[in-house]
Symmetry: C2
Subunit: 410 residues, 2 copies
């Protein structure tokens, strides 16, 4: 989506924070783990049409949020101080566009503002776009979802009074979008009761500006990360999304290239595979492209026993590629063992060095694992490669930081 | 909770199936993965007061369900055939208590029946008890939860009509409990429209039997396993619950006992640790008690290089203990390496045998991993044991079946 196709001057906001963009997004970051923020799509090109993002954070978390924004290179983000309720926080975020006292540099007032919850980190561009377009037409718009449970009203004695017909009602979710003037006027007219006890922005637009928001069907991704189980789910979803692509790197020796080819064949039914046969010592533009293409998994096959040098080179190239390592990269150093003797001797000092190296590299968010691939007549090669593929998938899906520096045997 | 303290003759039921127990539980198993069922508390002693459990399953899944029940030794369970809607399925389940044509042996009619969804596998006894007691008093009762989102009504043009005040409404969840006669009469009087489009059992009790159900606050555990993310969350919750207790087994040699002690010290801040110093070749009643105490994690420390025999003995003891292995057991074979030379030679044929052995044992739902612990002057022992503890926790938390038979180095 290019800027020109979009309502110009909209601002993207989140739950009790404000994120603008000629679209602004206010966020409630109070209840969100620090790790959740980097999954937010800020640095990705698809939010290019969002001009400003305001993140509203409780006072005690402002410094933490600023350091996260700096660490991960998030652009266009301004931090605002949250209030004691949701509505007060959103209002604080909106004020950054029009009240000088709240900011040393006033942000340019957007035409449309998006309000979003930071506890819904998996929001897609598509739904943002839909609510923005609908807000331009109707003045306000919000995502809705079908009700998961029947909604009931209870009587004073704690017994069922009546149940609502589920099909007639919807759950109101985020994101929501508004013409800035409408939502800002609504907040200016709010009573203290609204600000303290209200939760629904669409309700304010209706009550104070007579604006009936357009309702837009959202996807299941909009769920709120609320309970511990949601953190588990979010972690698995992120790990899943990081396990979509792998790059197999081999040097140009025949035996190594052959194993690389077989591994490629094994893996490609489960994951998108890029294969590169290259001498790592030279800079390589193909590899650079893969690095910047959001690939988070690498298998480097070689016939050296401890390929520390090759792995160090890859680590350097990843660092030099300047992509912010938002998520851990998996780097598997696969070693072909073609000696015919059945005893493989592991030098414990060398292994200790490998583990130390892996611990150091982990600080850069790169997880290094070792993999021994038997490549000799007494072992059926295809079977070994199948096992190597299974171990590779297990390592990249788990991204277990405790297993770094270990040597697994295929 | 003992039988005598409970309303006698209640039956436990689930979502589109029926599970009775002097309490009966009808289940909708259509949308539930086969693996979810074993987490259901059926075999655990705390449902001793449930006399029968009816699981209502769609026709094409009846054989699968029967094989699951047999495999895991679920007791008191009868399978009923589901209908095409939720209410029709529940009704089918209830008929097993009163209509001969639906069963070759009619189940004894319960006083109270619980209706539950199989998609809520983490239900606790406490809430079952609460709804049963409330149903005895009020005729009907159901669990409720606060609304997570605002509920809105939309107008014909797809715009917001009005929003409900969130505090006045609740989400109606499961379990629900009813006097059998009330819910059965309600179903008998139902119209086809109710059976085809209704979803709320409390509504039927109110409409046809003038019974205002008592509403009981439920816990967050009652959430519905609905989306892929919920399966992720459920898996993590189960793995978490399996990682609460570990048993460290050592032989009686001094060096081994010392490492066992240090490992115990390291682990006990994270997990409940049982430590046993024993010669494995003899039957041991203490170990037997641990097996039957729902312990799913074992570390067996020895000074042999490949302790296949010891591990085989443990596997045999686990099998002989006759507890149904509902969840995978982790068995870590930790080997102390006290040889002073820095090179540790791994016999690849031996390792291949270990992996083969691990694959065989995995069929019994036992996951075997190897762990090498350096125990010599050149390595600081405490550091090595710390590393062994971290690897142990990582292995039991992940229960990764692809890593079985691997030898990790602490």
């Amino acid at each position: 989506m290019r800027c020109g196709e979009l309502p110009s001057r909209c601002a993207f906001k989140g739950a009790t924070a404000t994120m603008p963009a000629r679209c602004c997004l206010p966020f409630s970051v109070r209840s969100v783990p620090a790790g959740a923020f980097p999954t937010f799509p800020t640095p990705s090109p698809w939010v290019s049409w969002i001009s400003d993002i305001i993140v509203v954070v409780s006072p005690e978390n402002i410094e933490t949020m600023k350091s996260i924004i700096e660490k991960y290179g998030h652009k266009k983000v301004t931090v605002a101080e949250g209030g004691i309720t949701r509505h007060r926080s959103i209002f604080n975020g909106l004020k950054l566009f029009s009240e000088n006292e709240f900011s040393n540099h006033l942000l340019q007032k957007p035409e449309v503002v998006i309000i979003h919850d930071a506890v819904r980190p998996f929001v897609e561009e598509d739904i943002l776009l839909k609510v923005v377009m609908a807000a331009k037409e109707h003045g306000a718009a919000g995502a809705i979802r079908p009700l998961v449970s029947t909604v009931i009203a209870s009587a004073a004695d704690g017994c069922l009074d009546h149940s609502l017909e589920r099909a007639k009602y919807r759950a109101s979710e985020m994101p929501q979008a508004f013409l800035f003037d409408i939502i800002y006027q609504a907040y200016q007219q709010c009573t203290d009761y609204d600000l303290d006890y209200g939760t629904e922005c669409l309700h304010l637009a209706l009550k104070y500006c007579k604006t009936n928001a357009k309702l837009v069907e959202g996807t299941a991704d909009l769920w709120k990360v609320t309970y511990k189980r949601d953190l588990y789910a979010a972690e698995s979803i992120i790990k899943d999304s990081l396990s979509q692509q792998i790059c197999i790197i081999t040097d140009v020796k025949e035996a190594v290239v052959q194993v690389g080819f077989l591994l490629h064949e094994c893996l490609r039914s489960q994951i998108k595979v890029e294969a590169v046969s290259v001498s790592l010592s030279k800079g390589n533009s193909h590899l650079q492209n893969i690095f910047s293409g959001q690939c988070y998994n690498f298998v480097c096959i070689n016939d050296k026993k401890y390929a520390t040098e090759e792995i160090q080179q890859l680590v350097n190239m990843l660092e030099e590629s300047n992509i912010p390592l938002l998520h851990p990269v998996v780097l598997i150093s696969a070693h072909l063992n073609s000696l015919e003797n059945t005893s493989f001797s592991i030098d414990l000092e060398e292994l200790t060095r490998m583990k130390k190296f892996a611990r150091e590299v982990k600080r850069k968010n790169i997880l290094v694992y070792g993999l021994l691939v038997q490549c000799k007549d007494s072992f059926p090669l295809q079977e070994t490669v199948n096992s190597a593929a299974a171990l590779t998938m297990a390592l990249i899906k788990d991204r277990n930081p405790e297993l770094i520096g270990q040597l697994l045997v295929a």
